[in-house]
Amino acid sequence: METAQEVVRLKETARNTRKLILEALAEAGSGHPGGSLSAVELLVTLYFRVMRHDPKNPKWPDRDRFFLSKGHAAPLLYSILAQAGYFPVEELMTLRKIGSRLQGHPSMGIPGVEAPAGSEGIGLSLAVGTSLVAKLDARPFRTYVLMGDGEQQEGQVWEAAMAASKFRLDNLTAIIDRNGIQQDGLTEQVMPLEPLAAKWRAFNWNVIEVDGYDLPQLMDGFDLAISTRNRPTVIIAHTVKGKGISFMEWSPHYHGTPPAKDKLRDVLSELG
């Protein structure tokens, strides 16, 4: 598909993804909109352009793996998986409800979810594990992992970063949703991360910085990661917490506060 056409298609999917996230969260009455909305284009590009996967066959052995390490963005992952066809879109309205498959944070038993998540800082290590197995068995699948930026404060991220470069895991791509905000405020106030790119370079990773909403940049970034040899790649995607909803943007409050159900129509009207 022509890039221009593809961008139009992905933009429409991104718009629909935001709508599904907000509807599911409003219905649930709790959950995390800010960090779900910030990373929409990252996952839309991955699932609808980059990754080799088959919603009809979620356990296909050679599928590319995706780990959501920032597990609180579960509404984002679920909205993507539902649109891809892993489960019915209507099921999104059961998010966080008793008896639902759609747990507040990802868990096994949801088609398309590769691992439980929710405790920050541990997804990159899982990705190192699957990447090692792909190398060991000479299998073609790649592993992708989305981390939060606040999550970079967890020590285990850097244990995994060392291991990935030791084992030359060029089949591994990490993505950081660099939206600058964590639960208690700005990352640079709570626990400064900068210079973040320099830190990853110092750990011998291939570092790519992109605008997290520029789809051609994102596509190029993922392609460059795939063609890079002997080193893992991290894509630092500059994003906006709460992206797309004016009063949620840049707001630590909407890290973990859903939209009110009776205001949902107004909120969704912002998506155009």
Binding site: I122, V128, E159, A163
Partner: protein, 312 residues
């Protein structure tokens, strides 16, 4: 029996070598203690399936989980003080919750670690690990049962924690030991008191039973090698038969094997009990034998507890 000694860690290395040859999906992950743990011998035969992640115990656990997610049976471990000590969250969320084929095998459990002192003497691991849903917990009593257990768990799906001992220990079993999940081994039948032990306290329990017999007290001795899932049937049967139970473990008396036994009997067949173990305290430096005596983890302590229950 008990006259020979052998090292559980050597048995672990032997078992890994056999597993490596039998099953190409077995991988080994270590954290800078692979020489000590003897998991490193796996690398001599199967270097491509051996991964040393350095001093990074959280990463150790989560990488093993990732490998299991991609279809491997991962044996991961280091010293018990560090796993589970530094990595409970990873064990819980990466391994147990998704019920993955990760077999955590750690050495240096208990205070018999010796001169390294309290910072290296893990006396809480049984309590921690058995509280995690889906986790199965094994504390072998000697090298022979260690090897058999390590091999057996490769064929039983899901996560395990196996706790080994640093020093060489008396051999309890002949080579024919067969591991059966959740089935305690009754090593000696007696009618006055049932002594339930695990790990290095099993040989001590056997010695205690011998000494008690010379005093006219007949003791059953049980090797409760698998603390979870626990063999409730055997425990209830023995409680009914003996009317008194003494537990013995190289672990804090809070939350460990003795607690697990008390939970079963408290609900199903309450009888008077005594728990021999570390009395909710930290250890210290010293030789293993000195520490076991000082902290009340010997045959004499088991005998005393048994006699106390008998009112003698």
């Amino acid at each position: 029996m008990l006259s020979k000694t052998a090292a559980m860690r050597d048995a672990y290395g032997d078992a890994l070598l056999e597993l490596g040859a039998e099953n190409k999906d077995v991988v080994v992950v270590g954290a800078d203690t692979t020489g000590s743990l003897k998991s490193g011998v796996f690398a001599t035969k199967f270097p491509e399936r051996f991964f040393n992640v350095g001093i990074a115990e959280q990463n150790l656990v989560s990488i093993a989980a990732g490998m299991a997610l991609a279809g491997k049976i991962a044996y991961a471990g280091t010293y018990a003080i560090f796993v589970p000590g530094k990595s409970v969250d990873q064990i819980r969320n990466n391994i147990a919750y998704p019920n993955l084929d990760v077999k955590i095998v750690c050495s240096h459990g208990g205070i018999s670690v010796g001169p390294d002192g309290a910072s290296h003497q893990q006396v809480e691991d049984i309590a921690i690990m058995r509280a995690v849903p889906k986790m199965k917990v094994i504390v072998p009593s000697d090298a022979v049962s260690t090897k058999a257990s390590i091999k057996a768990i490769a064929t039983i799906p899901g996560p395990f924690y196996v706790r080994l001992t640093r020093s060489s220990t008396p051999v309890v079993y002949d080579a024919g030991f067969q591991y059966e999940l959740g089935r305690a081994n009754v090593l000696r039948e007696g009618g006055d008191v049932a002594i339930v032990a695990c790990g290095i306290m099993v040989p001590e329990a056997l010695k205690a039973a011998e000494s008690l017999s010379s005093k006219g007290v007949s003791a059953s001795v049980v090797d409760l090698h698998t603390i979870k899932p626990i063999d409730s049937e055997t425990l209830v049967k023995l409680a009914r038969k003996c009317g008194r139970v003494v537990t013995a473990e190289e672990h804090n008396i809070m939350g460990g094997m003795g607690s697990a036994v008390a939970e079963v009997l408290g609900e199903r067949y309450p009888v008077p009990m005594r728990r021999v173990g570390v009395m909710d305290t930290f250890g210290e430096s010293g030789e293993a034998g000195e520490l076991l005596r000082k902290y009340g983890l010997t045959a004499a302590n088991i005998e005393q507890a048994s006699l106390g229950l008998k009112g003698q």
